[in-house]
Symmetry: C2
Subunit: 254 residues, 2 copies
C-alpha cells in the first residue's frame, strides 16, 4: 500500500524501472501525459481476469506475476511468469483477454492505459519498435515452453524452467552472484506451468535433489551442478532464447 503511495508521490523519475523497456523510450513529459498509475496488488489477486476487458498494460516494478488460462472444469495452464522489469498485457487490441494475470506475491505495478501507449507508439517509431522487441521476446519464450511441454520429460521440463528463471532473474539482478535463487512459486505453480501434477513435480524435484543437481526449500533454489542442469534440460547456453544482458551476453552460471 505505501509502495503505491510512494509511486504516485515520487513518480517516474525515481522508479527503479525508469531505464527499462518501454519507459526508457519515453520523456518525462510523455510519461506524465500518458496517465500512468502506480499500484500495489496483494498476493493472489488478479491484475486482470480471463474474459474481462482490461484497458491497461502493466510494467512490473516489484514482485512476481503469472499469466494463466483456465479451462471450464478448473484445469489451469500457467502461460508465463512476469518478473520485475517485465511488461505484460500487450496483445492484439480490441480483444478481450483469454487469459488472466495474477500476483504471486505482493506486487508493485505501473498501469499504463493501452490506447494511450498505442497512440504514442503511432507517433514514436522507436517506441513501436520497442514493443515489437518485447512481444517477439515473449513469443520466443512461449515457443521454448511449447517444446518443453510437447517433447520433454518431467525432469527435463523442470530443469528447463529452472534455467529459464535463473537467466531471467540474473538478467535484472546481475550483481546477485551465486547459484541461489529466490523463486516464490509453490510446487502447484510449477505443475501448472509445466503441464504436470503437483505430486509429480514433487517427485521430480526429489530426483534432481537426490542426484545432487539442485537443493531447495523455503522458496529458495540452490543450483549445485549448473553443468548437469543444462545437460538435463537439453539447453544450449549459446542459443537459448532467454533474455540477455544489455550487452547481449548471457548471465554467467558457475
Amino acid at each position: 500500500m505505501h509502495q503505491a503511495a510512494s509511486l504516485t508521490t515520487y513518480g517516474c523519475p525515481s522508479c527503479p524501472m525508469r531505464g527499462c523497456g518501454v519507459c526508457r523510450m519515453l520523456s518525462e513529459a510523455e510519461l506524465s501525459s500518458i496517465g500512468i498509475i502506480g499500484r500495489a496488488v496483494p498476493a493472489g489477486q488478479d491484475l486482470f481476469s480471463q474474459g474481462e476487458p482490461c484497458g491497461d498494460v502493466f510494467n512490473i516494478l516489484d514482485g512476481w506475476v503469472f499469466l494463466y488460462e483456465l479451462l471450464e472444469d478448473g484445469r489451469r495452464q500457467i502461460l508465463q511468469f512476469g518478473l520485475p522489469g517485465d511488461f505484460i498485457g500487450l496483445r492484439p487490441s480490441g480483444r478481450v483477454p483469454f487469459f488472466g494475470a495474477q500476483a504471486l506475491s505482493q506486487v508493485s505495478i505501473c498501469a499504463i492505459p493501452r490506447h494511450r501507449l498505442l497512440d504514442l507508439a503511432r507517433r514514436r517509431p522507436e517506441l513501436a519498435f520497442e514493443l515489437v522487441r518485447i512481444v517477439a521476446s515473449d513469443e520466443s519464450q512461449a515457443y521454448e515452453r511449447l517444446t518443453a511441454l510437447g517433447r520433454k520429460t518431467a525432469v527435463e521440463r523442470v530443469a528447463t524452467l529452472l534455467l529459464e528463471l535463473f537467466y531471467r532473474i540474473r538478467r535484472r539482478a546481475p550483481q546477485a552472484a551465486g547459484e541461489i535463487l529466490r523463486i516464490p512459486l509453490t510446487q502447484t505453480h510449477l505443475a501448472d506451468a509445466l503441464g504436470l501434477t503437483p505430486v509429480h513435480i514433487n517427485r521430480t524435484l526429489g530426483v534432481l535433489r537426490q542426484r545432487g543437481v539442485i537443493d531447495y526449500g523455503n522458496g529458495l533454489f540452490h543450483i549445485l551442478a549448473p553443468h548437469r542442469l543444462f545437460e538435463i534440460a537439453g539447453v544450449d547456453a549459446e542459443t537459448c532464447p532467454w533474455p540477455r544482458g544489455d550487452d547481449g551476453s548471457p548471465p554467467s552460471l558457475q
Copy 2:
C-alpha cells in the same frame, strides 16, 4: 519454379497478398526499394534452419510451412503452422533462430531482408505497429497451444488444432464454404505439433471419426459435427484467440 518466375516478372502489384499484413502498409516505391525476392521452395526444404543465421522474414503466398524446434536426440516440436498470408521469421533481431521453418508442400514465398524491413519500421510507426499486431497474434496462438499441450487430453488437443486450422483457413478463404478442409499434414506432423506420437494421433482421429464428429482421408478433413468439435475442444467460439475476418467477426462454422 515458374511461380517464382511469375513473382519476379510481375512483382508486387499483382501479388495475391498485396493487400495483406505488412505489404498493405507499404507503397510501391517502398516495396521495390526494400529488395523483396519471390521464391518457390519445394516440399520438405527449409526456408531457414535452426541455428543458422537468416537475414530474411517471409511472407507466405501459397502453400503451408511449419516452424519447428529439434532436440539433440531428434525429438521434434512443431511450434506453429504458416498458411498463405502469414508472416514468419519475425523475432528478436541479432539472434540466431533456435527454430527452423520447413515447407510442407511446394511453397511460394516472398523473402524480405529483415534489416531493411526493420529500418523502415523505425521510420514508419504504422508499419512497426502492424508488426506488433502480427507478433502479438502469433503469441496468442502460442499461448493457446501451450494450454492444449499442458492441460488437454489427446482428443481435446486434436479437436482444438482442427478448429484452429479451420478458423485460419477460412479467414483467408471465406468464399470456400462448407466444412471440408484441405490440410496437407501427415499424422506425424499432427503428433509433433500436439506433443503426441503418430500412433496415438491415429487412434485419436479414429475415435473422433467413430463418434461421427469428423471424417478424413486423402489430406481432407470433413467436420461433420462442428458443435461437438467445439465442445470436445473446450473452445468458446466468442473468446477464442484465432484470427478474425477483417471486420472482426469469426468465420462461420455450420
